[in-house]
């Protein structure tokens, strides 16, 4: 009789990439990388937000003593640096990473490893920059950057702003310059990746004339990154050379020119503003049509006005420098170009309003944030146009008026756009709907908070309150307005807590989203929620600007009537 010998089953040890942590560390999947970008961006938003609350607490009353002047300098510098480089840019890159390949019918980004590298650089760049708070010098001050997010010379030179002396001398500005270099490499990597992905990996039939507008704006943003960042990188390298190898690019005492820094910085810095807002334009252009049940009005104008903004953004940088004594002809040029850029921006706003007009508007949370975006960004645009008027700019330059303007653009604009995108795409990413009721609460709290915080700053600026002062005397008429701004900042913080609570309860016990909870138009909704690792087993074929709408409505498909 034959005996059956059972072989012991061989249990293979899991490879590192198969463990939970390993699968995230080694991932090259654009969706996982997108989620990590978004998480890192949101965590940075919380850190930058806490710094903002410290600033506002310090300024709530005259002669405040919450922070010392030195710490205040570090906190406002890191607030700006964190919000711009570690929150908005990673958050928008994350949304683009997750959504763009799905929108264009691609299986992944063109260069998945470079994509992962870009993310890890952001994470380590964030840790690097924030680790500067941990190095405390003998004078009690940390090594955190302390010269403002644009770090004007000569504040960045070796002999100024010394918190901690390392082996290479004072290191506060070094942390900033090296951190920015690291993050710059990441942005160039992700920009290049988006350009190649969007130009080369679109689904068959998706001509540039059919590319979703979020993808269009991401493409323009990526070109801006590629052309604008070299200027900042060059400036940061020159600064490091000044600080450590004895050059004097920015040192006036050795016939260097501090204004060279400003030119180099702002020739990056103003395109940067559009790098921070264009993807939000794209998000709004996706959300409004879906929640108005209409195609976007003026697709071509929205797409090409984005291109126009991209080009013009390279011609306006010196409007940040009107007060430095530019020649009249230069002032006239930069004032004109700054005013000119309002035209393509206004084109977009008119198109968005026309999209909503006459539509079956559904005021769900993504739509509320999109409408809030239009209103807040409009205020930021109008006070920005005011700053293009040179005599007015002379009066309010480096005052709280400018702080108000940039926050209406970047908070009222970009952050509202980001939340519109998060509420809109959260179901795709997680399979769960974010609670709409809590979304509405968050929206109204945030709208009230933003206006209470930033509107009084217009008046503070006109009254002459300079930005970046760590306190003020009580007899200048600033007191009540500052208190209002501080109350508003805490209301914004409350709205963020509501969002966090909403995310937690939605993930735990939220409503199942299904594949297409919004009855949407674009290809990302043609996949499971969350999508499989390969996105599309069969690459879809596109015949119009609303391919998923066509599939769901074959009788009235766009390609039957539209010419695009």
């Amino acid at each position: 009789m034959a005996t059956i010998v059972e072989r012991p089953s061989v249990v293979r040890r899991k490879r590192f990439g198969e463990t939970y942590i390993g699968s995230w560390i080694m991932t090259t999947d654009h969706k996982k990388i997108g989620i990590m970008y978004i998480m890192t961006g949101f965590f940075s938003f919380l850190v930058g937000g806490l710094e903002a609350l410290l600033i506002r607490t310090q300024l709530a009353q005259p002669n405040g003593h919450v922070l010392s002047p030195e710490v205040y300098n570090e906190v406002f510098t890191m607030h700006g640096t964190t919000m711009i480089f570690l929150f908005v840019m990673p958050m928008l890159t994350g949304l683009g990473n997750y959504i763009v390949p799905l929108m264009i019918g691609a299986r992944d980004m063109a260069f998945p490893r470079i994509n992962a590298f870009g993310f890890w650089l952001v994470l380590f760049g964030a840790l690097f920059l924030n680790s500067s708070f941990l190095f405390i010098g003998p004078n009690g001050f940390s090594a955190a950057p302390n010269g403002g997010w644009f770090y004007y010379a000569p504040l960045s030179e070796q002999q100024y702003g010394c918190g901690v002396a390392g082996v290479v001398g004072c290191v506060n500005a070094d942390f900033w310059a090296l951190g920015i270099l690291l993050l710059g490499i990441s942005s160039i990597a992700s920009g290049l990746n988006f350009v190649v992905t969007i130009l080369r990996l679109r689904a068959p039939g998706m001509t540039m004339n059919r590319v979703p507008l979020f993808t269009w704006m991401t493409l323009i943003t990526s070109f801006l990154l590629l052309f604008a960042l070299p200027s900042l990188t060059a400036a940061a390298v020159m600064l490091l050379l000044d600080r450590h190898l004895g050059t004097h690019f920015f040192d006036a005492t050795f016939h260097g020119d501090p204004l060279l820094w400003q030119h180099l910085f702002w020739s990056f810095g103003h395109p940067e503003v559009y790098i921070l807002i264009l993807p939000a334009f794209g998000i709004i252009s996706e959300v409004l049509p879906v929640f108005s049940r209409k195609p976007i009005f003026g697709y071509t104008f929205i797409a090409w006005s984005g291109v126009a903004i991209g080009f013009l953004s390279f011609t306006v940088w010196a409007h940040h420098m009107f007060a430095v004594g530019l020649p009249t002809i230069a002032q006239a040029f930069f004032a004109t170009s700054t005013t000119l850029i309002a035209i393509p921006t206004a084109v977009k706003i008119f198109n968005w309003i026309a999209t909503v007009y006459g539509g079956k508007v559904s005021l769900k949370a993504p739509m509320l944030f999109a409408l809030g975006f239009i209103a807040m960004f409009l205020i930021g645009g109008i006070n920005g146009a005011a700053l293009a008027v040179v005599p007015f700019d002379y009066q309010v330059t480096d005052t709280y008026f400018v702080v108000s303007h940039l926050h209406y653009v970047l908070f009222g604009g970009t952050v509202f756009g980001v939340f519109a995108g998060l509420y809109y795409w959260f179901p795709k990413m997680t399979g769960k709907l974010l609670g709409d009721g809590w979304g509405q609460v968050q929206f109204w709290l945030m709208l009230i908070g933003v206006n209470l915080t930033f509107f009084p700053m217009h008046i503070l600026g006109i009254l002459g309150m300079p930005r970046r002062i760590y306190t003020y005397p009580g007899n200048l008429g600033y007191n009540e307005l500052n208190l209002m701004a501080t109350v508003g900042a805490f209301i914004i913080a409350l709205s963020i807590l509501v969002f966090i609570y909403n995310v937690i309860i939605s993930l735990r016990s939220g409503k199942e989203a299904g594949t297409d909870p919004w009855d949407a138009f674009t290809l990302e909704w043609d996949t499971a929620s969350p999508p499989k690792v390969y996105n599309f087993l069969t690459i879809p074929i596109v015949r119009s600007r609303r391919p998923f709408y066509d599939m769901k409505n074959p009788d009235i498909a766009d390609w039957k009537t539209a010419t695009h």
Binding site: M26, T28, R107, F117, G166, L182, G514, F536, M551
Partner: protein, 90 residues
Amino acid sequence: MSEEQDQNQVSGQPQQTPAKAGGSKSKSKSKSKSKEAQEQAISPQQSVWPFALAFALAVLLIGFIMHPIVLGIGVVLVAVAIIGWGLERR
């Protein structure tokens, strides 16, 4: 449509996962294997080197600021990460 299905509605080819496809156990097993192979073929491979290189660059920068020994370690790590990335089998 259930999450189990691979949706590809525009191209009109919704695909079923093996679990839903029915049939005998061995048939479903072989289908599952072929699907896994197909997924692997169309998905990018994992790699630890992007993480390693970014980490190495961060160590290098900390070293630049704080101590030459850390800087040296950073340089070595960067070199290892670049070589590892370059030699990785794809």
